[in-house]
Symmetry: C2
Subunit: 155 residues, 2 copies
């Protein structure tokens, strides 16, 4: 099972986002966990690789199960662990292999093109300090067909 | 990959533990996540099945990667998500299929026979409200050969 760890880095009124080339969708930087790695080591390593920045004191805020369905069957299932932090060191890469890095004003984050489930995650984590748990069900072309969030609204 | 969710239920000066029949080791009740399930739904369902009790407002406190090694190779890898709560409803099962249920005085928890890594987890979660992240490496007969905890000591 694939496991992904990512982090929402917010400084003052901006959030660091990565625009992926394939669909032009925005995500929080991060990537795949390696074998034997724990989720925090993973998010620090992946964030550094994608952005050049070392995040400091990332806190886990969301734990999600993603299911991708095709013809009524589960084609894939993976987990995502989303951290949050406001501090980092280092210099932003000018070019990331994974896409375009962009400091997005906080009040524009939810207007960016992104997976529908990710929008719910940003909405929650940018407005609440509580843990968010959820399951998202997508088609193989990333259309959200079901979601179950707990809490269902930000606190 | 196997995923396990469990919960440390503490009420006043007692912790609910499950003594597994095979080695006589104590664990926090819980069990395997099902396909498509998120970690919180999973811990509530599993705790109910093993104990008869409905835990209320469980909070995620620890996220762990377990690696089991055999002859220098990884034989198995799984993840465990450990929650904590102090409230529940329902009546304790008199007989659990999984082992013997026991309300253990808090100051005796760490003296019980258990996997070495689990002892570290209990020690941390019973004394700190912060999140714990970690990797544990075991032999196939459950001897702990390596661990990496973050934070390394309870706050």
């Amino acid at each position: 099972m694939q496991r992904v760890a990512n982090c929402i880095l917010r400084t003052d009124d901006y959030v660091l986002m990565l625009k992926k080339p394939r669909r032009g969708w925005y995500v929080a930087p991060g990537g795949k966990m390696e074998a034997g790695e724990n989720i925090k080591d993973s998010v620090v390593r992946e964030f550094k690789e994608e952005t050049g920045l070392s995040i400091e004191n990332p806190e886990l805020r969301g734990s999600f199960t993603f299911v991708m369905r095709e013809e009524g069957k589960t084609a894939q299932e993976w987990m995502m662990f989303t951290f949050f932090t406001t501090s980092y060191s280092g210099d932003l890469l000018e070019v990331s292999e994974e896409g375009e890095l962009e400091w997005v004003p906080v009040d524009e984050v939810l207007q960016k093109p992104m997976a529908e489930g990710d929008r719910e995650i940003f909405k929650h984590i940018l407005t609440s300090e509580g843990q968010l748990y959820g399951t998202f069900v997508y088609t193989t072309d990333f259309r959200l067909i079901d979601q179950d969030l707990d809490p269902s609204r930000p606190d």
